[in-house]
């Protein structure tokens, strides 16, 4: 099946004086995909998002956004919306005024621009006429998302959209993003919150020191790369510890015997070795009550890949 690319970047470079922010970045994001962008601070994520939003111009490489090559001038095609470094709206205006001004800027009549709809979509109808000055970070995030939605984007670029949101708010925003993606909008999501990325993204790109160190499906991260730490809770901790010790490729990394929670076992293994251990436990009649990664595969991969990158510099 052929998929349309909302973003196609090849060999993108960008420097600020002597500082190389992006060093030959390649990136493909298909329409209808929520694509995560991960990287340590200073990796070049903001610069990359800035290029997508037309806030900066690449020094080299080729960037196509929604099928349109992005030129040398600060520019971005219609259909691109979002925010970098948090949403920034005008505190002296109300959400409705902020959105009306934005609609007017785009040449839309504020009455027919769908302001009430987007406010309802992000759950801000009740405070639509309050000044933004008194809003919490979470409410500002929602309003930033509403501002982006107002333009009916086909590429949505978001930087830490869950910052400051409570669990219910987070779920609400996730729902909005999933609906957008289902309708064909491509979403590029930069975040340090691995849970968000794992909950939302089908693919991620990990960037370190201006270079892509991984790009692909999340599932590939877990299987491809490395050993992960897993937490095991079984009906017979002693037997589980013994079998983990005996299983090739599995190491006990946390001696649960000295911990308060003696039933818990933490092992480090790659997925095939872990599968062997699970089979052996079941064969021996040990019930497996919980098996969860200590850190998410994405976080582990992120840490490992970025550490490798740092070490290789």
């Amino acid at each position: 099946m052929e998929q349309l690319l909302a973003i196609r970047a090849r060999g993108i470079t960008k420097s600020f004086g002597d500082v190389v922010a992006l060093d030959g970045i390649d990136l493909d994001v298909t329409q209808g995909q929520i694509h995560g962008l991960v990287g340590p601070n200073g990796a070049g994520k903001t610069t990359l998002l800035g290029l997508l939003l037309g806030l900066a111009v690449a020094d080299g490489g080729r960037l196509e956004v929604l099928g349109t090559p992005v030129g040398r001038a600060l520019d971005a095609p219609d259909g691109v919306a979002g925010f970098v470094d948090g949403p920034a709206l005008y505190p002296s205006l109300t959400p409705r005024q902020n959105l009306a001004a934005l609609a007017a800027l785009r040449g839309h009549d504020a009455r027919t621009a769908g302001i009430d709809d987007v406010l309802a979509e992000v759950g801000l109808t009740g405070v639509a006429d309050d000044r933004v000055r008194g809003f919490s970070l979470g409410m500002r995030q929602r309003l930033g998302l509403a501002a982006a939605l107002l333009t009916r984007p086909r590429l949505l670029v978001l930087d830490e959209p869950s910052n400051g949101l409570d669990p219910a708010g987070k779920r609400h925003v996730h729902g909005v993003l999933n609906r957008l993606a289902a309708d064909g909008t491509a979403v590029v999501l930069s975040s340090h919150n691995m849970d968000d990325l794992e909950a939302l993204c089908s693919e991620v790109t990990i960037v370190a020191t201006g270079r892509v160190v991984f790009s692909g499906p999340l599932s590939k991260l877990a299987t491809d790369n490395r050993e992960l730490d897993y937490r095991l809770l079984t009906s017979d901790p002693q037997a589980a510890r013994r079998m983990a010790d005996d299983t090739p490729g599995v190491r006990i990394v946390d001696d649960a015997g000295v911990r308060q929670d003696a039933e818990l076992l933490v092992v480090r293994a790659m997925v095939p070795a872990l599968d062997d251990l699970v089979v052996r436990l079941v064969d021996e009649g040990v019930a497996l009550r919980e098996l969860t990664p200590v850190v998410s595969p994405l976080e582990a991969a992120f840490l490992a890949l970025t550490e490798q990158q740092e070490a290789g510099r």
Partner: protein, 458 residues
């Protein structure tokens, strides 16, 4: 397996247009909405449209008038003096502060709020953002200046009425002429206001959220005022944009002192254009993805301020070469002519108020003999040590009348003549006029020495 494919806009995607840029008018409207939503701007608009009227109305009702301010002594006599008093005050304080608050903050506020990226994503063109911000701040400044002018005029006209105004050389302007000249004076004051607005834009772009950006126009205005107080050569004085806040005085003499006014306006407009262009260049060079950006830094100070220093130097050279005015411009001959002219006009007015037989200025053949420091030292320059003996002739009377004045001349050419006898001519006494009791017009009067040698003599 999933294959990826980039499609051209014309084919597989929905029609994708190149980023449609927002027209400047729309962006300007947005900037105006933002400006007007700020409480301090609303307060300023309210203050500019109400406070001058209250001030003029209040002062016009009092027995003590602000005689230190130009035209202040005529606030009881005509409603047209009020807007000129307010203009004098505005040129010194209000207009620099207004431009600071509006133009000095129009870019910096986006830095403070962290909204640059939002704005740039919405408008898609730094050039248009700049134009919109410049136009919006200009609009607000014009509304504020219009408020000061209209409000003070309305206050004066309602409390005192539209009556003739005594000009700076003592000649009487009809209410219509006074209205026109008051309007022209305010229009002339727009030029240095625009120069300060340009400096405000430059400071706002250059210094980001630093308070120095906000204060720059006020700071420049203070420096220019201090400079105008110093005993500088005329060429330097005229080559600074601040002089245009003073040179409107020349509209109220006959003949009009046009040359200094036009030079000052041209210099102010040159500053306005240059400062705005420099602000634009710095804004275009800005990196909007750099979070740490907080003004364009030291380099920008050099790029932004050196050209202004250059244009000042060029202006000084141009004015010096074209007018050959490297002295103070306050020379004995000019002082004598100015004092004699003002005295003749005011004597005619006094004659009328005393119901004596009418005389004309030509019949009076007034002359003045002035000396500085009792004739010791150079007979030129500002100071309160000028003393003039004014002589005149009345038709049919052989004796020549003489009156003495102490003259205090400031370095911008403005002077106050204080009568020093004889008392029956230039002492303090009240005269009954059609509008009520008024001090003897020959007791104290304001005047203006034209610093350039361009107007006709006499």
């Amino acid at each position: 397996m999933t294959a990826t494919l980039t499609q051209s806009a014309e084919h597989e995607h929905e029609p994708v247009t190149r980023g449609r840029r927002v027209p400047v008018t729309r962006a300007c409207r947005f900037e105006l909405v933002k400006l007007v939503s700020q409480w301090r701007i609303r307060l300023l608009v309210l203050a500019c449209w109400i406070a001058p009227a209250l001030f003029v109305a209040g002062v016009s009702q009092q027995s003590t008038l602000p005689v230190d301010t130009l035209f202040g002594r005529w606030m009881h006599a005509t409603g047209w003096a009020g807007p000129l008093v307010v203009l004098g005050f505005a040129g010194t304080w209000a207009l620099p502060l207004l431009t600071s608050v509006v133009a000095g903050d129009v870019f910096a506020s986006e830095d403070r709020l962290g909204t640059w990226r939002h704005l740039l994503v919405a408008v898609r063109s730094p050039r248009r953002i700049f134009a919109a911000k410049a136009l919006a701040s200009l609009t607000v400044i014009l509304v504020l200046v219009a408020g000061l002018a209209c409000s003070s005029a309305i206050g004066g006209l309602l409390t005192v009425g539209s009556r003739p105004l005594v000009g700076l050389d003592g000649h009487l302007l009809s209410p219509e002429d006074a209205a026109l000249k008051v309007l022209l004076a305010w229009v002339c004051a727009l030029a240095p206001t625009l120069a300060l607005a340009g400096i405000g834009l430059l400071g706002s772009v250059m210094l980001g959220r630093s308070p120095m950006g906000l204060l720059l126009p006020a700071l420049v205005a203070i420096i220019m005022q201090v400079t105008q107080i110093l005993p500088l050569p005329v060429a330097v004085r005229l080559a600074l944009p601040g002089y245009a806040f003073i040179s409107w005085n020349g509209l109220f003499t006959s003949p009009t002192q046009l040359a200094p006014l036009l030079i000052a306006i041209a210099v102010s407009l040159a500053w306005a254009v240059l400062a705005t262009v420099l602000a634009y260049v710095l804004f275009q060079r800005r990196d909007f993805t750099n979070l740490a950006y907080d003004g364009s830094g030291r380099h920008a100070l050099t790029v932004g301020l050196l050209p202004l220093v250059g244009v000042t130097t060029l202006s000084i050279a141009a004015v010096a070469v074209s007018t050959s005015s490297m002295g103070s411009g306050i020379e004995q001959g000019k002082v004598q002519r100015s004092v004699a002219t003002a005295f003749a006009h005011l004597y005619r007015m006094q004659t009328d108020q005393l119901h004596r037989p009418a005389v004309t200025e030509a019949q009076l053949r007034t002359t003045a003999t002035c000396a500085k420091s009792a004739g010791k030292g150079a007979q030129e320059g500002a100071g309160n040590n000028w003393r003039c003996a004014v002589s005149w002739h009345l038709p049919g009377i052989a004796v020549t009348g003489t009156a003495i004045y102490q003259i205090d001349i400031t370095s911008d050419g403005r002077f106050v003549a204080d009568g020093d006898g004889p008392k029956e001519v230039n002492g303090y006494f009240l005269l009954r006029t059609s509008t009520g009791d008024a001090p003897n017009p020959l007791w104290q009067f304001d005047g203006n020495v034209e610093l350039l040698d361009t107007s006709s003599k006499g």
